[in-house]
Amino acid sequence: MRSQIIKRITIGLLTTTAILSATSLIVEAQQRNSVAHPRTPYRLSFYNRHRRSYRVAGALHFAHSKLHDVLLLTPFKNHKKEDEKLYQEVLKVYNKPPRIEPTMELYAPYSARVTWRLFRVIDSIHLLHEMTEDVMSDKDIPWNKKEKTLKEAYKLYRKKYKDIAFSPAPLDVTMRRAGVMMKPYFTLTRNYYPKNNNFFYAAHWWHPAVYESMMIGGNDKEQDEMLNQMENLFKNLVIPNPPMRMLLSREGSPRYSRLSPETANVFDNLHMLHGITYDIFAYDGWTIEQKRAELYRVLKALSYQPGDEKLVRKFTTPKPNINPLNYDEWVKSSDGAMTRMMMEMMMEMIPMMHGNMKGGMNSGMSSEMHKKMMMQLKMKLTPGIQEGEIPGSWVDAMKVLMPNMKMSSEAMEPGKINPMMVKIMLKGWQYKYGNLPNIEPISMDREPSALSILSQYRK
């Protein structure tokens, strides 16, 4: 009798719950659309050969994952406390990293339910990171076959993730397509969550440093030694004193960028996506739905577009012979390709903003205002709040500087962009860099020797 009652209650409860839940299913439900990772001969080479670095990647991806939920679930006004709290947790995880690289969902289950497409994009590019690291780690792939295998890896990525694959064009182009500078969230994370932001700047030093250490070390045991020395440097110098900008692949791994420009550019585009996402999530002026609309617009802008192949080598390498084990002032500085790119975009937009100023300023912006504005932008692009910096996001600062400026409402709205603004910026890029010769591929005929570099660190 008792068991009959338990049985009926159990069945009743479960059936009711299932029916009620099923009826709430939205008709246009999204699906996961997860795709299995390519089963390549070089799979897990990085995991098997460079376990220390593999685990560091796990810690970095933990940090990336967790910040999503922290920003979405805590009010912006608590930024100082939350920044410190998460940073301490991140350091703890870095010192005892996961044995297996976590997916984004593992530490950001809230964001996974809100913006699943974002996590598909991030996890797919993390897979591309793994594949390219595997290729470079695999001793069975001769040095002169690395380029071909990397190209195949990139093609696999494009094929597997064709609906979400990121652009192989340089960030200079994709940032202009994204048009985020005039959005109310731009710079919030770097200004108000500097500890975690800077940890990611360290992480974005680390990724290029891994590739460049391999490019210098070659296939033999010098590669292992280079990576170990690089990890020592990362732990002792880079994490305590991170770079003040997001280092691009062409800056931190110029040799690798010449070898596999497609993947190097995809990585830069992903690293910038992290920053933009955190800014959107940190901004508390929008609802969750508005944040998702804006984020998905950005994802589309950063995605592959026909013709992007022609742009993959449109960049220069400021330090083509960089030694990743030399953590110098140039690497640490807030001045670099990223900052230059933002300044250029601002300059490109100024004529358009002028036309939008109330009362008309057709005679042009005064040189004094121009100077003030660019100085504020430089401060906004630097992590934290500098002396003399106007509080808030970059748009907040502009409103204070130029109260009569009428912002394009379309450009400010979530999920929308002023197409004219994007067009003007892309025209600006074309004017400056359209005729830039393609950067030369790097010769892989002879395996390099890292003896001269390593001898300095062997003492």
Partner: protein, 267 residues
């Protein structure tokens, strides 16, 4: 999967079949399937690994996974030991197919192969803040076991919902299954129901805790089992997950206790 009616083949023969089955599955999957594999995922709950509850997500498209589930039940002081190799394959986006071959040993029932099961699993949607993830699986148990007759179809509805903000990835899972007993005997039910309510939680980056309450109607009339289970799933390498669990029966018809173990290997 009906493992109650089992054909006696002798332990040696069964073990040989098990070994041959696993080896054949491995080579077939290596040569026949596309060159893709997904890292075995400790988040993706699988039936019997180590508890009965499963979540609403399949293996990724073109993912291949070999699984081995081992279950020991102590039933009225007698031993029942089931080893079940399985092969799962992501046959289409959000869809997986599975084939499972159970082998049973011990003095609770006859030794030998049980009913081979084939199942297709489809996920309808991702979970959102309001809507749980839903899936359905449709399968058949073929009468490969001794005294087994008829092809018994099963349909199962599966739901997964994250609890609250999901800080520790706390998730609730509900599974409700219905099996049509095709070749019903006099003392058997025609309609058989199984319901599982489960909960999972992230304990560490590599470890997931899973617990469930299982209500299962046996084919035999008036035999219902109630089991409470607890287990962990551990990501051992990027391609391997192992799991262990234990359970206790809550009624006279239920096993006294249960111990489970399993391994999942992506190819």
């Amino acid at each position: 999967m009906n493992t109650n009616k089992l054909k006696y083949t002798g332990k040696g023969k069964s073990l040989t079949k098990l070994f041959l089955g696993l080896t054949t599955s491995f080579y077939l999957s290596t040569y026949l399937f596309p060159k893709t594999a997904e890292a075995a995922d400790h988040l993706n709950l699988e039936e019997g690994l180590p508890t009965e509850v499963e979540d609403a997500y399949p293996v990724p498209y073109q993912g291949i996974e070999l699984q081995g589930a081992v279950k020991y039940d102590c039933i009225n002081g007698k031993d029942s030991f089931v080893i079940e190799p399985r092969l799962e394959y992501g046959i289409a986006p959000n869809t997986q197919a599975r084939i499972a071959v159970p082998f049973k040993f011990g003095n609770a029932e006859s030794d030998g192969i049980g009913d081979v099961g084939v199942e297709v699993f489809y996920n309808f949607n991702i979970e959102t803040l309001k809507t749980p993830a839903f899936a359905v699986s449709v399968g058949v148990d073929t009468p490969t076991g001794e005294d087994s007759a008829g092809i018994d179809p099963t349909v199962k509805l599966i739901m997964t919902k994250t609890l609250g903000k999901g800080t520790n990835l706390d998730r609730l899972h509900l599974n409700v299954g219905y099996t049509f007993n095709d070749a019903k005997k006099d003392d058997e039910r025609r309609n058989v129901v199984k319901a599982v309510a489960g909960y999972s939680r992230r304990l560490s980056p590599q470890t997931i805790l899973v617990t469930d309450f299982v209500y299962e109607q046996e084919k035999e009339e008036d035999e219902d089992t109630y089991i409470l289970e607890l287990g962990i799933r551990q990501q051992a390498t990027p391609l391997t997950v192992w799991s262990v669990g234990a359970g206790v029966g809550l009624s006279n018809d239920s096993p006294d206790f249960r111990v489970t173990a399993g391994i999942q290997q992506s190819l």
